[in-house]
Structure formats: C-alpha cells, structure tokens
C-alpha cells in the first residue's frame, strides 16, 4: 500500500518534470529556430562558399577549391606559380593596429570618466549612465558622418583654423580619422563595464590604503586598478572586437583608401566579385573574434571558480 502510493506520487513528480521540460522546449524553439535558420545556417553556408571556386560574375561554382585561402597569402602568377604577397596581411595588420590603438585610447578616455561617474551621488549616476548610453542607441552612420562635418578640408575645425590665420590640417582620410571615429563609435562599451566594476568597489578599501600611507597615485595603481580589472578587460574586448570588423568608419573617414578587414570583405561582394575570397576573409575574421571571446570567457570562468574557492575556504 505504502509502496504503491510512493510510485504514484513519484510518477506525478516525474510527469510534472517532463511537462516542464516539454513546455520549455516549445517556448524556446521559435527564437532558436530563427537564429538557426537565418544566422547559423548562413554561417555554415559561408564557410562552405569559402571552399568553392569563384564564379565569373559573382556567386560561386560548386567545385571544391582552397584558392580563397591560398589567395590570402599568395598571388598566382601568369605561369600559375605562387608568389608571396603581403597586401592582405597588411590590411589585417592595419585592422589589428587600428583596433588596438582604438582600444587603448578609449581606455585612457573612459577610465577617468567612469571613475568620475562612480564617485557621484547615486541619483546623478543614473543620469550620467543615461548620457553615456544615448550615443550607443543613436545611428552609427550619423555619428560617423558628424565627424566628416568636423574634420574635412573645409569642415568646422579647419574653417576655424583658417579664420585664425592658421594653416589647414589634413584631418580626414587617414589613420587618425579612422581611429578617432572608431573610438567615438565604441567608447560607451568601454565606459559601462568599467563603471560597473568601479561602482561595486568598496571605497573603504581606498581609505584603508590611504590610512596605510598610500598616496592617490599609489592607491589608484595598487587598489583601484586591480579591483577594476574585470571591467577594464570586458571593456577592452567590447571595443576591440567591433573595431576589428568595422565597416562604416573606415569607409567614411578613411575614404576607402585605408582599407580595414570590413571594407576588404565588402569589396569581394562588390567590385571584385570574388565571393569565396570574401567568405574566407569573413570566416578568418569570425574565427579571430570568437577566439578572443573564448579566451575571455575561459579566463572569466577560471577567475570565477577561483573566487568561489576562496569563498568556500573562508566560509
């Protein structure tokens, strides 16, 4: 009798759990299906395309070929021999260099601003965060266009210089303009995570440090920076990754002369009509970005576990 009741009850429990699992599956399916159909399958197709032969007027010929990847490093001569070429490597190198510069400058600009925000009374903080988020939600194209108005030969800055009797400066269509535009585009991604880690910071730790004789610079270096490190790393990743794949900024502010990876990819689907090569470039970019993100996640996980271990040891 008792065992009978037990099996009935546990059956009820099992049924409830199965119902829960089934309902969850049904609810999550639409979103997953959309992402799978219009993102994951296309990405798979893109990878496939990178191993096909290029069609004469765009598109592909369904023949297996590694030409796209070979073409990244070598140029095929008239006699079909391969000669090393660094022109694409140079574009990748420039993209990494500019992205790195963007990240560094954004960090230098964002950190003190984030610290200022974290030090304000809570009611002002919300307003300041709102002010930092607004640009993120406004049109990226327009925000880059704004810099054209400022930087071009007869733009606001150069006009001002002229009026002051000073010589004009070549502000547009160079690495400077691209970096400036990239920093401007992605700096909210740097400020917000740094702010988040500084806001959690217990300022009594800084007081304790100063009580132990640390001056401002020392307490910044030895206490604040180490504690803000997770936010700084998150911010750097969040700025570096989109900079690497940027298209609008180098297009508008680089004037199409200083190519970055994004423009190179676009060219393969535009003027060059080499879809396999474009796919291969996109895949290389994707792999690079995912590698960075995975390293970051892995590091965060490792740190998370270490933190949990510390807590367990103390508790």
């Amino acid at each position: 009798m008792a065992t009978d009741a037990a099996t009935v009850a546990s059956g009820e429990e099992r049924r409830a759990r199965r119902r829960e699992g089934w309902r969850r599956f049904v609810l999550i399916s639409p979103a997953m299906a959309i992402i799978a159909a219009i993102m994951l399958i296309p990405l798979g197709l893109m990878l496939t395309y990178s191993f096909l032969e290029s069609g004469r007027y765009g598109g592909v010929v369904w023949e297996f070929s590694t030409e796209a990847y070979i073409g990244f490093l070598f140029e095929r001569q008239l006699d079909e021999s391969l000669a090393f070429t660094d022109s694409y490597i140079r574009i990748f190198g420039r993209s990494f260099g500019l992205s790195f510069a963007t990240m560094a400058i954004a960090l230098l600009l964002a950190f003190p601003a984030a610290m200022f925000m974290a030090l304000q009374p809570p009611k002002y903080r919300a307003i300041l965060i709102f002010l930092v988020t607004i640009p993120f939600w406004t049109n990226l194209l327009v925000r880059n266009y704004a810099w054209i108005l400022l930087l071009r030969d007869f733009g606001l800055i150069n006009n001002t210089l002229l009026n002051l009797g000073l010589p004009q400066l070549p502000l547009m269509y160079n690495n400077f303009a691209i970096t400036l535009g990239l920093v401007y585009s992605f700096i909210p991604f740097m400020v917000l995570p740094i702010y988040a880690s500084l806001e959690k910071l217990d300022w009594r730790l800084v007081e304790a440090g100063q009580d132990l004789g640390a001056n401002r610079l020392q307490s910044l270096r030895r206490i604040i920076l180490p504690l803000a490190k997770p936010g700084i790393i998150a911010g750097c990743i969040l700025v570096f990754v989109p900079s690497l794949g940027a298209y609008i900024t180098p297009e508008l502010l680089g004037g199409g002369q200083r190519l970055m990876i994004g423009n190179l990819i676009q060219l393969q689907f535009g003027a060059s009509q080499n879809w396999p090569f474009g796919s291969a470039l996109a895949f290389i970019l994707l792999a690079t970005v995912l590698l960075f993100l995975m390293l970051w996640a892995w590091r965060a996980k490792k740190r998370g576990e270490a933190a949990a271990l510390r807590e367990a040891a103390v508790g």
Binding site: R23, I28, I38, L141, A282
Partner: protein, 266 residues
C-alpha cells in the same frame, strides 16, 4: 592638503571632473553639430549664414526619402514585433522551473547575434538568400533584422523575469488561479514593461541598422540609413544633416521611453 579638511580625500582625485566634462563634450559635440547645421540656411554646410527649417521641408517633400523612411518603418515594425514575440517566449521558457543543463548553450546562442561582427553576418546572410533564391527586398531585410533584434528584446525581458519574485506566481496558484489565469493576471502584467522596453530597443536597432541592410537590400528596398549612406557618398549637403537629425531624434525619444519604462517598478 588644505583641501583635506573640506573634502573626502579618499574620493578626491584632482582633474577627474575636468576630464569628465571634456569626455561628455566629446560624446555630444559631434551630435549637436549635426543638429545645429541642419538648421543652417547655407548650401555649404559648414558656413553658418542663418537659421532656416527649409532643409527639413525639402527632406519631407523628397519622395525618395519618404519611401526609404517608409521602408525603414515597415522593416523595424515587423522585425521588432516578431523578435519580441520570440524573445518573450524564450525568456518565459528559460524561466521555467529550476536550472537545466543546456541553459548556458541556449543563452550563448541567443546572445550570438550580438557577438558576431556585423560584416560577417551581413555576408553570410547575403550568401544564404542568394543561395536559396530569394529576391532581395523588404522580406530579406526584415528576416535579417529579426535575428539581431532578438537579443536586444530578450535581455530586458529576461532581466524583468529574473527580478520577479518566484513566490508571486506561487501566490497566484495558492489563491486558486490556474496556469492560464496566473499568466494573464500576474506574470504578464509584471512582465509587460520589460516586453515593451525590449520591443522599443529592437525597433531602434532595426531602424538604425546599416551594414546588414546594405548587403541584403535590393533595388527599391532602400532603407533610411542606406539612403543616407548614398547621400553622404555623393556629397555633404544640409539635407543629409536634416535627415540625420530626424533619425537622431527618433532614436533619442524611443530610447528614453524604453529606459523610463524598464525602470518603472510596476
């Protein structure tokens, strides 16, 4: 040191406030420049000759601009509605019961459209549509937008669900409301601000998107950002400033509403 008496020294770092002032100026001056110059009477955009709203009238009477704006609104409306519906269901599904094994994988997949560089998504989506033989147009743009709208809609809804006391649902069950009535009377009303906020954010990112749209739009399906890009390419005119200022205004209003809604307690 004389200041030590009047200020909290541990929180006082000299130069921070000045830096912050420059920082916010840097964030906003370019945007303000666009808006200011959109009211410039002069054809040469950067020489100020007088206040005028002519460019706005010119833009609003330009049938190409209006068609592009209409396309943008159609795409943003459908993409954000579909994405919000899917995201709401997904958020409800993820909140079902205790944690489960595939939770991290699903969360990562839902965030994927945010992590993959736009240019890569654009290329992949273009290849996909061409491969399956779909005519590029509003349909393909809407489909592509729906994908990246999902995480933007999902995150505020998920945050809302996570902030909800699970005991509220149980309290409704306890007070004789069945699953359906609990959903309608308790879960939905409490989730609603999150859904609305998510839908608005999805709408904004769809409205503003350029790169992906640029790849998957065909002739006649130009959206506003793609149209603006074309205008900028052919030359800087005050009309670009006016369209840009209008687009900024729409984003600003929507994001403000969205943030206000999501902050609301009930």
């Amino acid at each position: 040191m004389a200041r030590a008496n009047t200020r909290n020294t541990s929180r006082h770092f000299p130069g921070l406030a000045t830096h912050a002032a420059f920082f916010f100026a840097y964030l906003y001056i370019p945007i303000l420049v666009v808006v200011a110059l959109s009211f410039n009477e002069n054809r040469l955009t950067t020489i100020w000759t007088g206040f005028s709203t002519d460019w706005y009238w010119a833009v609003l009477n330009n049938s190409d601009v209006l068609r592009a704006a209409r396309n943008s609104l159609i795409v943003a409306t459908f993409a954000s509605l579909i994405a919000t519906a899917a995201a709401t269901l997904a958020a409800l599904g993820m909140a079902q019961g205790r944690s489960f094994r595939q939770q991290n994988t699903i969360n990562a997949t839902l965030a994927l459209p945010l992590l993959i560089p736009e240019i890569v998504t654009a290329v992949a989506t273009l290849i996909f549509f061409v491969a399956i033989g779909v005519q590029l147009g509003l349909l393909t743009i809407t489909a592509a937008h729906t994908v990246f709208c999902i995480p933007f809609a999902y995150l505020p809804i998920r945050a809302r669900i996570e902030g909800m006391d699970p005991a509220l649902r149980e309290a409704a069950f306890d007070l004789y409301a069945n699953e359906r009535r609990t959903f309608l009377r308790v879960t939905m009303p409490l989730l609603w601000p999150g859904i609305l906020s998510g839908a608005l954010l999805a709408f904004i990112v769809s409205l503003d998107n350029f790169v992906i749209t640029f790849f998957v739009s065909g002739a006649g399906s130009t959206t506003l950002p793609v149209y603006i890009f074309g205008m900028i390419r052919t030359g800087v005119t005050p009309a670009v400033n006016a369209v840009s200022a209008l687009l900024l205004l729409v984003s600003l209003v929507l994001v403000t509403i969205s943030l206000l809604i999501s902050r609301k307690d009930v």
